[in-house]
């Protein structure tokens, strides 16, 4: 990302935060209308968590098809960022739940599903730590990510529909759901956060590429190359 884009992202996010606290009216109908502003930050984090999760599954599938080490690195980075945003979404959600429902944790289906998503990521990182050899690690972790995918689809999209939830459903896209001002601020924050996501992703990827080059120069593992480790 160019410096201009980075600066713009910073200004944009600062602007949206200012708008969320200064311009956005308190949300009526909540127990503490002022605290409800957190929705504007909470929902984009949750959406990005699932974007990262989908990216992880897509790159894992791509790795199994192409056996490209860089694709494996991308899958791993997507999981790392997914974990980060899952933590952010959980913390912001818990803060709001404490204000609104009087308890930080209610075993709401969406709360359950994000904890399970974090467990999947944790298991994914444990698995990556448990396999020494690089190509084998990439293969096994990609396979695991794809196995966890149907389970997560179930927890994220099916479970909240068969169990009663505290979370409102269908607020983001329907006209009746969210106040237009809130919706605008929410999606503006999402745009800023997405830019940060892309930036972090590319930074991590550069680190990964640099590490691989370094390893090659030290020629510890001549068999792994960045571009063509086709077996």
């Amino acid at each position: 990302m160019s410096n201009i884009a980075k600066a713009l992202t910073g200004v944009w996010i600062a602007g949206v935060i200012a708008v969320a606290f200064l311009w956005l009216p308190p949300a009526q109908g909540f127990r503490s209308p002022e605290a409800a502003r957190i929705v504007v930050f909470h929902v984009p984090c949750a959406i990005l968590t699932f974007v990262a999760f989908l990216l992880n599954a897509a790159y894992s599938w791509g790795y199994l098809r192409t056996r490209e080490p860089l694709t494996d690195a991308k899958a791993n980075i997507a999981a790392e960022l997914g974990m980060l945003f899952a933590v952010l979404a959980t913390v912001t959600g818990s803060l709001f739940a404490l204000e609104q429902w009087g308890s930080a944790w209610n075993w709401d289906p969406r709360e359950t599903s994000i904890v399970m998503l974090m467990l999947v990521y944790a298991a994914y990182f444990v698995l990556r730590g448990a396999v020494e050899e690089r190509t084998k690690r990439a293969r096994l972790s990609a396979a695991y990510a794809l196995l966890a995918f149907p389970a997560m689809v179930f927890l994220i999209w099916i479970l909240p529909r068969i169990v009663e939830s505290l979370h409102p459903s269908n607020t983001l896209f329907s006209r009746s759901g969210l106040d237009p001002m809130y919706r605008l601020t929410l999606w503006s924050f999402f745009a800023g956060l997405l830019a940060v996501f892309v930036w972090m992703f590319r930074l991590r990827l550069r680190v990964e590429i640099a590490e691989t080059r370094l390893r090659q120069q030290m020629s510890c593992e001549p068999e792994t190359t960045l571009t063509g480790a086709k077996r």
């Binding site: 698995l127 448990a130 096994l140 695991y144 995918f149 479970l159």
Partner: protein
């Protein structure tokens, strides 16, 4: 002979071979059944007198025991191939699909045996108030099959890892969680609900659907796990 019947025949051969090996050593059976037995007895001691414990708690505890017993033994069927260094021979002679289906059948039968031993003992020791017997049997069979389906491919991954230790439990839990949650819900319905079948219909559908999704998905990635 056509190709499909080819891998079916291979799967049956793998299944028969695995049971022969298992009956000689009885490692997986011993691990699974003794683990379940110990936990049931421990729960019986802990929840004395059982009549004071809500049926919901008992239903959840039953599945927690079954899940951890499964974790104790279901990866064995792949780990044993790596430990005895027979995996390569199997790779040379049998197609990946044949291996997977054979091992999946092995694990499913193992889970059913586990349930056949554990569940009656559990019902006896903890005085579970079962209202709808046929529903309960269906839930136990479907639930244990779903657990076997969810964890068999994970077992194959674990067998390839360098440090196996507690890895299987860590990896299996997120994948096995959906059938576990649903089975607990349906068991509560079978024990407590007035009209259990109506409450549990959705659960049974989800259990079946989960198996129909996870088995093809496992089959799809198994090739990449299994072949070196």
């Amino acid at each position: 002979m056509s190709r499909s019947s080819g891998w079916a025949r291979e799967a049956i051969a793998v299944f028969a071979k695995d049971w022969l090996v298992e009956l000689r050593t009885r490692v997986a059976l011993g691990a699974v059944v003794l683990f379940a037995f110990t936990s049931v007895v421990a729960s019986g001691f802990a929840l004395e007198p059982p009549s004071g414990v809500p049926a919901e708690v008992k239903a959840s505890l039953l599945w927690v025991i079954l899940f951890f017993a499964a974790v104790a033994g279901l990866s064995r069927v792949f780990v044993v191939e790596e430990e005895t260094r027979t995996a390569d021979a199997l790779r040379l002679t049998v197609s990946p699909a044949g291996v997977f289906v054979g091992k999946l059948a092995f694990n499913t039968v193992l889970m059913c045996l586990l349930c056949a031993v554990t569940v009656p003992l559990y019902l006896l020791l903890l005085e579970a108030p079962v209202r709808h017997w046929n529903l309960f049997v269906v839930v136990v069979v479907l639930g244990s099959m779903a657990l076997a389906c969810a964890t068999t491919a994970v077992g194959a991954i674990v067998a390839k890892a360098t440090t196996r230790g507690a890895l299987f439990g860590v990896l299996a839990f997120p994948v096995a969680l959906p059938p576990l949650l649903v089975a607990i819900h349906a068991t509560k319905a079978a024990w407590v609900s007035e009209n259990g079948w109506r409450v549990a219909t959705g659960d049974l559908q989800v259990l079946t659907g989960f198996m129909l999704v996870i088995v093809p998905a496992s089959l799809l990635v198994f090739e990449h796990i299994w072949s070196e």
